[in-house]
Amino acid sequence: MTKNPSEAPPIVSLSYKKGDLIIKEGDYGVSIYKILDGEVSVYREAEGEEIPLATLGTGDIFGERAFLNRADKTRSTSVRAMEDTKVEVWHTARLSREYDEIPPIIKYVIDQVMSRSIRMNNLIVQLTTKQQKEKALREKEDPMASKRRFYRKKVDLSCRYRPVSATSKFNLDGRIKDISLDGLALKVMRRNTIDVSHETGDIFIINTVLPNKKDVELEAEVVSVQQSQMPDDLEVSMLITDISAGSKKSLGFFLMP
């Protein structure tokens, strides 16, 4: 301990193990941390979930908000070490005295930025919680949903398909059960697979007519093959690998809600 702790106490450095909590939301505290080495995640908790707000690395500073916020000295977020992390802890007595005397205009700017920053973090928490709920709901209804980027429409369209290497005269029959701009689910008879491989990675050319009478041709790759509810049928999940501009446009129109 120094004799006069109010005069620039020594900077302390601390080490945290991966996973350690460094700052806990709601706690009182005004120390400022600078990352000497490592990575931390800044997050807030909402409805039992950790909502990530930012990832910070070597050289970055955190904990500044409780210091700069004159109205609220509790931590507005939690911070956790994402890998072994070494931080420098600034005791803020001296900085605090300097802060009291900075030009009022700078203080005003800081206060305004602070309230925008709080509002933005609230928005991020809101959007993330909403999306997590929707995702949980979708996954309950359809386990594959989270892997998809686009809205998938349930359909029942007969189609003809062939391996990409086959001639256009060779065709198998199938039914498209749902389709989006980046993938589809194809129901096929098990016997189709006797002569033609339907394995992950196989590529097929698929032709169909949409309910709006538009012809669509596309190339798609098998992602997975599953037993359908009917013993003679298989369900093939596919990712679209190639589609002409015209077909894409027709499909896009058809998929519009």
Binding site: I106, Y108, L127, T128, F150, S180
Partner: protein
């Protein structure tokens, strides 16, 4: 010192805009700091799903604050657009503001910078979340 007179001492100019006018354009360089004096402005970002409004700033709000860090600065990170009727903004004497800022200790400056850069990152994150929500398509 009351805020009004404090601010006016630093004000270089006042500008008025009509609803829809662009005050700051994302991607351009600029070194003015502004304050909303009358009306409201929108903070918008360009994204894959079009122009997104991520915040609305009311009277008294500051924007363009990154100009504090001086001329070496990168381009504006968001657009600011007059949102509501006639908008009047004050333009600060940036040089003076920068001088004030640079008179602070290096530590205090790095603390303030962390706050301001954090806001910029939060803006980006919020925009990205809205984009992600839109790509998943309509709710059933």
């Amino acid at each position: 010192m009351d805020v009004g007179s404090l601010l006016s001492a630093y004000m270089a100019d006042q500008e008025t805009y009509k609803s829809g006018d662009v005050i700051i354009e994302e991607g351009t360089k600029g070194d003015w700091v502004y304050i909303v004096l009358e009306g409201q402005v929108k903070v918008t970002k360009r994204t894959a799903v079009g122009m997104l409004t991520i915040d609305v700033l009311k009277k008294g709000s500051i924007f363009g604050e990154m100009a504090l860090f001086g001329k070496a600065l990168q381009a504006r990170s968001a657009s600011v657009i007059a949102a509501d009727g006639d908008v009047r903004v004050g333009v600060f004497e940036t040089r003076q503001l920068i001088e004030d800022y640079e008179s602070l200790s290096l530590e205090l400056r790095s603390v303030i910078k962390a706050l301001i850069m954090g806001l910029k990152e939060s803006n980006e994150k919020a925009a990205a979340l809205v984009v992600a929500a839109n790509e998943k398509g309509p709710k059933n």
